[in-house]
Assembly symmetry: none
Homo-oligomer: 230 residues x 2
């Protein structure tokens, strides 16, 4: 995996250093700034693949700077992950509104951070995941965002697509509802486990309409399994 360049904008020394360290360990190259002005200079020098941006910054705030970036065509495609100490929903919504690609609430584990960075890079097309997952006559194309069975295309909702994507990349293994929530919805989501059942039901219905009956299997007392077998 080639190295990516990540711009860290964070005014607190301890946190900034920690971030750089974590990134380094995960084989990301990083450049760091303590405020928006400094960051802007680095940006002019070299366009990074991703920006880790603190919400609160001296001078121009992180959000404000991000908003400006997203308006300029040169920068608007750089993915931004916002960092904030407060886990308030309001901030999150505002952050995502201005076009941030993800949002991390401090404190976060290094592993989670890295995972999110990868996810964002993947989404923005910088990391090429496997574009097509093929299982039997099922094909899920992440680039085209299409799910086909044979040559027929299935109409699935975003959640169904993600669920299907997870299943197809983790076939034959049983997952509990909790695990599915973690993996498909995200770790810090607060959703009833029974909701999974409903989504499974919807997925099954779509699959049934195309003649596939037993792809999603119930393992009573444990969870669900996606498998071509049996």
């Amino acid at each position: 995996m080639s190295s990516f360049n990540i711009l860290v904008v964070e005014d607190e020394d301890a946190i900034r250093e920690m971030l750089v360290m974590v990134l380094d360990q995960a084989n990301f190259a990083s450049i760091a700034a303590t405020d928006a002005e400094e960051a802007q200079k680095l940006l002019d020098d070299k366009i990074p693949d991703l920006i880790l941006l603190d919400w609160m910054l001296p001078g121009i705030s992180g959000v404000e700077w991000a908003r400006r970036l997203k308006k300029e065509s040169v920068y608007k495609d750089i993915p931004i992950i916002l960092l904030t100490a407060r886990g308030e929903e309001e901030d999150k919504i505002r952050g995502l509104e201005i076009g941030a690609d993800d949002y991390m609430t401090k404190p976060f584990s290094p592993k989670e951070l890295i995972a999110r960075i990868r996810a964002v890079l993947r989404r923005s097309g910088k990391i090429q995941g496997q574009a097509q997952i093929i299982l039997g006559d099922l094909t899920l194309d992440t680039e085209q965002h299409r799910l086909t069975i044979g040559n027929k295309q299935l109409e699935v909702s975003p959640t169904e697509f993600r669920l299907m994507h997870f299943f197809m990349t983790h076939a034959d293994k049983v997952y509990t509802r909790t695990q599915l929530l973690d993996q498909v919805w995200g770790r810090n989501v607060y959703i009833e486990e029974r909701t999974i059942d409903v989504h499974i039901r919807r997925l099954r219905k779509i699959l049934e309409e195309h003649g596939r009956e037993d792809l999603v299997q119930t393992v009573r007392g444990f969870g669900y399994r996606f498998s071509l077998a049996e």
Copy 2:
């Protein structure tokens, strides 16, 4: 589904007791200490699967102790979840550097705690034992949650699966009904011992339907033994 051993280090009595109680209910075995020194002794005695560590401790602080642990190869792989009171945000960040695996801010819900513990154990790979247990032509796959004999799949209930899992991982040894209840059902479950007999019967029936007669053997006066021999 063997129980995990969790070391709780917390100086406030009420919280520590609450933790132990919650863990117990979730079928985790726990040992508790009130300070780092005491915890170290317990650690020397037996390596736990996870440590729940209060940030603030009398004497050596939780962070300091954690840092030391992470430097010693014997201990460095034990996952640590730090517990902190609200309003120590900054400190928590610093805790990341020492390699804690997660954080919990007091007060937290038992549900959340258990969820995080599971997540950490899952990440660190401890929750996944050996995926496949193979004994002769019997295969039990915990990931796929399948039990096969030759290439035929056996339809077993959750309890039967757990029982079979225990038997296959503890073949050739005799277990009393009490032991089986403890190991397969859980320590704090109160069930009649004769119930075991019924489950054994059900298991035998399924095995018989697939031509295996004497896998589960009665040792009169003691209990049952699972064995391929005889």
